[in-house]
């Protein structure tokens, strides 16, 4: 029987959860360089669910696809350390400025090339919080989508049973394969790196990375071809330029404003007994509390 192909869509994101003072430039724009790049948290939950699916199926392989600049290859190495079999980096200047629609178009072209039976991705990425790329990719490859998934209940080569986490409860659904699944942050956290895999794959590189390290003439890939991380461009996935980047994005950013707050007239207090006493008396008097 043919192996079941499981694909994880993962993204490298700036860590917007810890935005420090130096993260904003004086003109109010974002200083991306000051933010560490991390594996998008929900995507790690998605990777775990994909690995669980592989564990249960046995006869399966987990691939990782990420779109981003050269350094996003870090995401692929991290995935491989944790158990993924192989990864592809989708990288091209022409992707720059893509909104969710243009992004999902590019991803869908790469997905068609990989031809998976199942796709897992995080519910949303912390740099945009849109939760749009999963469903939009599903539509473009004509897969049913199951979103907000918290638990993999059962899987066979033909169907999958999943528990979804909704606002007011849970729902269990059965879907045939193929399908695209977006994984909620409340799902199982991702397993740790496997030390053996780290030793085996720590030199895994894209060609561009090797060039940047001035090792393009090294025999690395000749001796150990499994260390080569594939880089795919617009041409590799046969995408139409006009659907990519700024020109392929129906949403345009009209303006970006840094936030200027109108100062409200306020009462400034300290933590002294007298001040806190005044505060509580004030609140009780004005019947805000009590």
């Amino acid at each position: 029987m043919e192996k079941i192909k499981i694909l994880v869509l993962a993204k490298q994101v700036p860590d917007t959860r810890n935005v420090g003072k130096d993260a904003m430039k004086d003109d109010g724009t974002v200083n991306r360089g000051a933010l560490p790049a991390i594996y998008n948290p929900d995507d790690l939950n998605a990777l775990e669910m994909a690995l669980e699916a592989k564990d249960r199926l046995g006869n399966a392989e987990v691939y990782v696809l990420t779109m981003g600049p050269t350094r996003a290859a870090e995401i692929i190495r991290e995935s491989i350390y944790r158990g993924a079999d192989e990864g592809y980096l989708l990288t091209d200047r022409k992707f720059a400025g893509s909104d969710t629609l243009a992004t999902s178009y590019a991803i869908s072209k790469a997905v068609k090339k990989i031809d998976p039976d199942l796709i897992f991705c995080g519910l949303q990425a912390i740099d945009g919080d849109t939760a749009q790329v999963g469903p939009q990719t599903a539509e473009k490859v004509d897969f049913p989508q199951i979103t907000y998934v918290e638990k993999l209940v059962e899987i066979s080569p033909t169907q999958i049973t999943l528990k979804r986490r909704l606002e007011r409860g849970v729902e269990t659904v059965v879907a045939p394969l193929p399908a695209l699944i977006t994984v909620h942050g409340s799902a199982n956290p991702c397993r740790a790196r496997n030390v053996k895999r780290v030793m085996q794959y720590k030199h895994a590189r894209t060609l561009t990375e090797l060039k940047e390290e001035n090792r393009e003439n090294s025999e690395l890939f000749k001796d150990r071809p499994y260390l080569k991380i594939e880089e795919w461009s617009v041409d590799t996935i046969q995408a139409d330029d006009t659907h990519l980047g700024l020109s392929g994005s129906p949403t345009k950013v009209k303006t970006i404003d840094s936030v200027v707050l109108a100062q409200k007239e306020n009462i400034v207090l300290t933590s002294s007994d007298a001040d806190v006493e005044e505060l509580m008396v004030d609140l009780l008097k004005s019947r805000v509390i009590g």
Binding site: T100, Y148, V170, K252, V253
Partner: protein, 340 residues
Amino acid sequence: MKNVFVYCEVTEEKRIAEVSLELLSKGRKLAETLGVKLEAVVLTDQAGDTLETIQEFGVDVIHLAESVELFPYRTLPHFRVVQAIFEKEQPEIALFGATSVGRDLAPRIASVLRCGLTADCTSLEIGDHVDTKTGKEYKNMLYQIRPAFGGNIIATIINPETRPQMATVREGVMKLEKADKKKVAQIKNYKVEEILKPEDLVITIIDRHIEPQKVNLKGAGIIVSGGYGVGSKENFKLLYDLAAVLGGEVAATRAAVDAGYAEHERQVGQTGVTVRPKLYIACGISGAVQHRAGMDQSAKIISINTDPNAPINAIADYAVTGDLMEVLPKMIAYYKKYSK
């Protein structure tokens, strides 16, 4: 044609979701500004008296699709029917609640129609746009306004060329306002069995159970909220103590939730819950836009922060500069002393 459409979500209790009624209220204003009609889309098994509710919001047309396949919500049947309605009606604007339904459905619709969609808008306005490169003028665009990048900037997004202009909005962000006069809406019925194909029905729901939310932030009159500055889950206990004494609920910022100090249901902000309590006590909260978007309509705001220049102080009625570990116990003590 060229009208404002609102996808009306049907709840477990077969009522129109609060967020959809809020969007109908906002949609009516947008439609008035543009001089077009307001149209509602309702997909359910049996509409019953939900249509009555919608009529109170000044809707001109209700697109109604009734079928057992449409309740409870499943992605593909709803997707296929909404796609059919939109392809026929060519809406100018289409609004969805940013719920697990709206955030599942809207992107798939935007993808098939190849149009722009902006998630979690905190404000929607109508305005003009001039393309700086081509000089081309665009009249009456929908400004989709949202905090971006961890809430440190506010972005205004437009879709100059594609229609509908789509946006999702969280519950509690727009004000719920019924129309002054009740209007009798025209009802357009759809034959669902002619729209759905067998492949739209491949997913089956085998179990659903409702777990009512334990935390009710929207209904709380007093909210004691903590940020990353609270420092630990243990320190959060002080916030629970104060909330218990005052009869309020405990909330948290996204940073505090991400750090594991509080549960996700307690998150206030653009991607959490929007609240308007009579008193909001912000403890160790710096005040990123993304958080303020969810609480700046509070009647009274107290900020407790060691940093006298914390941005949240700008919208606070009382700004207490000090350590919350010191201030909160004092608040509890003085409350007990004077409330009797």
